[in-house]
């Protein structure tokens, strides 16, 4: 539990921002032209940043001790991550004068809006150092608050704890709906998930609901996974909504990955060779133990998924009379093979 108190200090000190001018260097020349031609490719990017202290604390520990067996690839501390992410946010704003960036923090016990470039009109709007300090200050507040929430009567333990992806996805979608309502000519919205902690199988239904709602309103969900394992939730989210899924090999070059892949607006994407999905994990979570499974039993009335055979469906109350029906028992199969 010691590690919990550290993360808020992790990035308070040594933050320096990379000047955002060199990012244009990474973009194909064709895209630069498109930006000049088309004024209606204005984007709204809602960035969901995973601020799970359990993950970042353990990865910070393994920076010093690189032989740590648990997180071999996550050799990036949270402050380093911000060194990549904040310049990326600034570069999104510089790509098009009218672009809007909204940053939402995904915590372990709460989710919250951190920064909205559409809000800060007047004085320091657009000034890069002002944006940086604003984001840092509010992130720190958020992490402190999030930690206090976890110190309630029922303490969250275990290092493999997930962050509340379903919450921040829902917030992002509500925000995007507001943008849809507000103006007739609204910017093209998309969501970018910067996720590091593992999936929380207990959020399965909520995450899937968010994905389908995003699909209905044609909002692509891009995902950049910085954790150890692939995220089945985000693979499905990007596959279903037509976004890009990427798990960078070398986190040192995160800024390059972000600016080359995720900075492109939706119109330019058709001209680029973006990373193709390396398979999609379609595993589901069982309703009884919240376990991730690739094979299970499905209730024929309500389609609830269970990891083993039950006498009664806990969701809809149907009683299952017979033994588990494996409809493709031998007689069927025999006939099929003889047909071939």
């Amino acid at each position: 539990m010691n590690s919990v108190s550290t993360p808020s200090k992790l990035y308070s000190g040594n933050f320096t921002y990379i000047s955002s001018s060199p990012f244009l260097y990474f973009l194909p020349p064709l895209m630069g032209l498109l930006i000049l031609w088309q004024s209606d490719d204005v984007s709204l990017i809602v960035v969901l940043l995973d601020v799970n202290p359990f993950f970042w604390a353990s990865s910070a520990a393994s920076v010093g001790d690189s032989t740590s067996p648990h997180h071999p690839t996550a050799i990036l501390s949270f402050s380093k991550l911000l060194n990549h992410v904040i310049p990326f946010l600034n570069s999104l704003l510089l790509l098009n004068q009218l672009n809007q960036v909204v940053l939402v923090a995904t915590g372990v016990n709460s989710c919250s809006y951190i920064y909205d470039s559409g809000d800060s009109e007047g004085e320091s709007a657009g000034s890069v150092p002002a944006v940086c300090s604003e984001i840092l200050r509010r992130l720190e507040e958020f992490v402190d608050k999030d930690r206090l929430l976890g110190k309630g009567p029922d303490k969250v333990v275990a290092a493999g704890v997930s962050s509340l992806l379903s919450g921040s996805l829902s917030l992002a979608l509500c925000y995007i709906q507001r943008v849809f309502r507000s103006k007739a000519r609204h910017p093209q919205p998309r969501i970018l998930c910067l996720q590091s902690s593992p999936d929380g199988p207990e959020q399965y239904v909520a995450v899937m609901n968010s994905i389908f709602s995003a699909q209905r309103s044609m909002v692509p969900i891009d995902s950049c996974v910085m954790g150890v394992q692939h995220s089945a939730f985000l693979q499905q989210a990007s596959y279903i909504t037509g976004g890009v899924y990427l798990k960078p090999q070398h986190l040192d070059g995160l800024f390059q990955y972000l600016s080359a892949v995720f900075a492109t607006d939706l119109q330019s994407r058709s001209f680029l060779q973006l990373p193709k999905p390396a398979g999609v994990d379609f595993r589901a979570s069982c309703f009884c133990h919240k376990k991730t499974i690739d094979m299970g039993y499905v209730c024929s009335v309500c389609l609830s998924i269970f990891c083993k055979h039950h006498k009664k469906c806990s969701t809809c109350g149907s009683e299952f009379s017979q033994a588990p029906s494996d409809p493709n028992a031998t007689p069927d199969r025999k006939r099929k093979t003889s047909e071939v």
Binding site: M208, N209, Y239, P277, A284, V298, T315, S325
Partner: protein, 432 residues
């Protein structure tokens, strides 16, 4: 000219016997074609103006005496609340069977009769449009079911698509084959489908839905024999007629336990068609609840070469891997050809989960005095829109019973109608 066509049709109808004399809403007034395009069918022009354009009712006076359009937002929200409460009451009572595995052949009549223009622009196009909507709705309501398409023209029937689980390929095949000619043959269609449906696994429910434009059937043999065969094979036949009631169609449906309806116009036709999307109560009762063992395969990486077990062919990219025996299949849902496991795409099942775990309706918070509520958040938790109206009062808003977060009216509608998650509840760790 057009009235003579109408007359001709009435003559045809009369010839079919008294069952054919059904009321046609638009029978007589085919002259005013253009005006019929809009929604108010059957309403005379002088009535229409008064009914629609009561524009003065959309105005109200504001504080300074200016006329402003009425605030429809709260009205819309009130209507939505009523709908929501009704729905949550209804869903508690009814039990929708989602796991029924239906094998449905949709038969589309493309005989000469389908070129008639009493439906706009023609019966054939109207049927195709509605069929597209139906196929999508069908897969939404029956995620594990299969649909195939059969067309009838020139006295023969032809299978357009193999029975399968993907709506897109069916719709594409249908739209590519829209031309009509010749006579319709009910017997040929039923014979063909009987052949295909007798091959499907025994746990599936066999159904035929015929969209019939013609007023006759031109058969090579005794259709009564075919009907008996279908009845024996437990194939449930339903017909939706586009012109008039026909005895033989009614007989088929009665014998096999299906339903027979005749459409009055296009919107009625669509309504009748969509009634077939949820599983018919008769088979829903018959099916006992059981647990079906299923696999959720992973999608293969793009650009990986593998031999699929369904076509025995080399395929590049895509495809799914059976979790039990690791065989490759091309499409979901299907059965593994090697180990027999039912393979489904889990997002397909997850689409209906919001019915199982609905978001409880939010409480309306109408007017909290501003001073008392200063410590409350002043923006909507979902979209950050300000909840404070121009004065010093809170605009009407709602709050979630569980997490006590407050939402604007627009978010309320979005959360319950599309998102099906409460952002507030999802943003806090569940106390298990």
């Amino acid at each position: 000219m057009s009235s003579s066509v109408a007359l001709q049709r009435r003559f045809d109808l009369a010839a079919m016997g008294d069952e054919a004399t059904r009321i046609r809403k638009r029978g007589g007034d085919e002259e005013d074609d253009e005006e019929e395009e809009d929604d108010e069918r059957g309403m005379e022009a002088w009535e229409r103006a008064y009914a629609d354009e009561r524009s003065w009712e959309n105005l109200q006076e504001d504080e300074s005496g200016l006329l402003r359009p009425i605030d429809t937002k709260t009205l819309v929200h009130a209507q939505y609340r009523r709908r929501l409460l009704q729905k949550s009451a209804a869903s508690a009572a009814s039990r929708i069977q989602k796991g029924l595995i239906r094998y449905l052949y949709l038969v589309i009549d493309l005989s000469r009769a389908a070129s008639e223009t009493d439906y706009r622009p023609s019966r054939m196009v109207a049927v195709a449009k509605c069929a597209e909507v139906f196929i999508r709705e069908f897969f939404d309501q029956n995620p594990l079911s299969h649909v195939g398409l059969v067309t009838i023209k020139d006295g023969i029937s032809h299978r357009l698509t193999e029975i399968g689980g993907s709506p897109e390929s069916q719709i594409k095949a249908l739209m590519g084959k829209l031309e009509c000619s010749g006579d319709a043959s009910l017997q040929n269609a039923l014979e063909l489908i009987h052949g295909y449906l007798s091959q499907i696994p025994s746990y599936g429910h066999r159904e035929v839905l015929i969209l019939y434009s013609a007023l006759n059937t031109c058969d090579p043999g005794d259709i009564m024999e075919t009907i008996k065969k279908c009845k024996k094979a437990k194939i449930r036949c339903s017909v939706i007629g586009l012109s008039a009631e026909i005895f033989i169609c009614k007989h088929v449906c009665e014998e096999t336990g299906g339903s027979y309806t005749v459409a009055l116009d296009e919107s009625h036709f669509k309504e009748l068609l969509l009634e077939h999307a949820p599983p018919p109560p008769a088979i829903a009762e018959y099916a006992a609840a059981n647990l079906i063992k299923m696999g959720f395969p992973q999608r293969g990486a793009e650009g990986v070469i593998a031999i699929c077990s369904c076509h025995k062919d080399v395929k590049i990219g895509g495809g799914y891997t059976c979790p039990r025996c690791k065989a490759r299949v091309c499409e979901l849902p299907t059965e593994c050809r090697i180990c027999g496991l039912t393979l489904v795409s889990s997002p397909h099942l997850a689409r209906s989960y919001h019915h199982l775990f609905p978001v409880t309706p939010f409480n309306e918070v109408s007017s909290v005095p501003f001073k008392l509520s200063q410590k409350l958040a002043q923006t909507c938790f979902g979209c950050q829109q300000s909840l404070v109206s121009i004065g010093t009062k809170f605009a009407p808003h709602v709050s979630c019973l569980k997490c006590n977060q407050r939402f604007c009216l627009d978010c309320d509608i979005y959360i319950h109608e599309s998102l099906h998650n409460c952002p507030g509840c999802e943003s806090q760790r569940a106390t298990a």
